[in-house]
Amino acid sequence: MRQLLRFAFLGALLWFGSFPQTEGITLIGPEVVCSWQTELCASTVYQTATQWVLTIICADPTGEITDVEVYTGTGTWGGFCPE
């Protein structure tokens, strides 16, 4: 009986442990913390479970998007968020 319980415990451990944690993060998806736009640039801050992401997209005066900037950091976004 003790042997059976040991197998059951190990089995449960393996079964729960088989869930890849990173997939859980992916499923939650990045949440938009804030975004702001000027005439030629648009900035958006995203937050995942483990990191923040700042994207800055700029169009040239002709309307073509020419700047794409992505910055990341660990933890929670602690930077500037207008309004």
């Binding site: 998806g29 994207t55 800055i56 700029c58 073509e64 930077g79």
Partner: protein, 360 residues
């Protein structure tokens, strides 16, 4: 970069601009020079962003300050407006509004790059909204462009950011309007970028892939540091290619590089790591800033640098064409080219050029 160029180019003539680009017809006698035959003046717009022309000749101009689309008749008389600022169907959250028109169905499409929203209006007998779609927003990305390909089918050009490792993917998608399903066409090379472990930065002067699509001719792509335009089918197979007759390449000046880094520092709201963004050693001025296919499937390439008084295009069959003013063409069909003209003071007007009979 703009300041640097304007200081250099302010006094350049068309001939000297051509010379700077290494164009063989330096003397200018072989370059077709065109002035607009129709001007929709800047006072009509806050800032013209994109335009489309329907089969009746009506002109649609999106305005990034007014959050709407203006409609004009073929003579440039204002008719009415489409959309307004808002978050409902047919309303715009984003000040950038791109346009595409499909003659076969007489439908005007508009897209908003950042919220990744698509709108469709049937234009006849009266303009009415068909629907507004929101693309999935479960990731980090931007809709760079949209083309109407056939009834019910759009082509989307999208940038998506992937985390760990940090990278950007640039992909073309087929999008079925009726069932909102998308399928991958193919992936394009991402722009050259400054990379650290925690940042990817692509700046305007860095080489990148330019794309234009015109049914039924296909997809034109150009890695603008290569000067070779490839025409692909929807499977991504290269069916033809054109080599642009440009020769000179110039490295980025140190002053331009420093100005770009300073611009980065000012714009970003976090203490960014620009101090260890080292200047790329192999970056050259992209000589093509924009790519366009006309209604016969011919390539038009806007060359760079330009000047405040002339914009130079290279086009198949016609060679070099110089347009009066700082102009980006948006639509070329039936012997007319429509574009947006940018003034030194930041104002924008819409211009039309009549193209002479095709020599070929």
């Amino acid at each position: 970069m703009g300041w640097f160029l304007s200081r250099i180019i302010l006094t350049l003539t068309l001939s000297s601009v051509l010379h700077l680009m290494g164009i063989p017809e330096v003397r200018g006698q072989d370059t077709l020079r065109l002035s607009p035959d129709l001007i929709l003046p800047a006072r009509l717009f806050g800032r013209a962003f994109d335009l489309a022309v329907d089969r009746t000749g009506h002109l649609f101009v999106s305005d990034s300050r007014a959050y709407r689309i203006y409609r004009f008749d073929a003579q440039g008389t204002p008719l009415d407006t489409i959309g307004r600022r808002g978050e409902g169907p047919g309303e715009f959250k984003d000040r950038w509004i791109g346009l595409s028109y499909l003659p076969a169905t007489d439908v005007l499409y508009a897209f908003e790059p950042l919220p990744r929203r698509l709108h469709a209006w049937k234009l006849q007998p009266n303009v009415h909204l068909l629907n507004t779609h929101v693309l999935s927003t479960g990731d980090i990305g931007v809709l760079l462009a949209l083309w109407a390909w056939s009834p019910d089918t759009l082509i989307l050009y999208e940038q998506r950011t992937r985390l760990s490792p940090l990278q950007s993917a640039y992909t073309l998608w087929l999008y079925r309007w009726s069932n909102r399903q998308r399928s991958l066409l193919f992936t394009l090379s991402p722009p050259e970028a400054l990379r650290t472990e925690s940042s990817v930065v692509s700046l305007p002067f860095m080489p990148r892939t330019l794309v234009d699509i015109h049914p039924p001719f296909g997809i034109a792509t150009l890695w603008n540091d290569s000067l070779v335009v490839r025409l692909r089918d929807l499977q991504g197979h290269v069916r033809a290619q054109r080599r642009l007759p440009l020769h000179r390449r110039v490295p980025i000046p140190q002053t331009t590089w420093e100005q770009e880094l300073e611009r980065l520092r000012r714009r970003a709201p976090v203490p960014l790591r620009t101090s260890h963004l080292k200047q790329l050693q192999r970056t050259f001025w992209p000589y093509v800033a924009d790519l366009l296919l006309d209604d016969r499937g011919r390539v038009w390439a806007r060359l760079y640098p330009d000047s405040p008084t002339w914009t130079v295009y290279w086009t198949e069959g016609r060679g070099f064409v110089a347009l009066q003013g700082k102009v980006t063409l948006k639509v070329i069909r039936q012997h007319h080219a429509w574009g947006i003209r940018y003034e030194e003071d930041g104002l924008t007007s819409v211009v039309r050029f009549r193209l002479p009979e095709d020599p070929n």
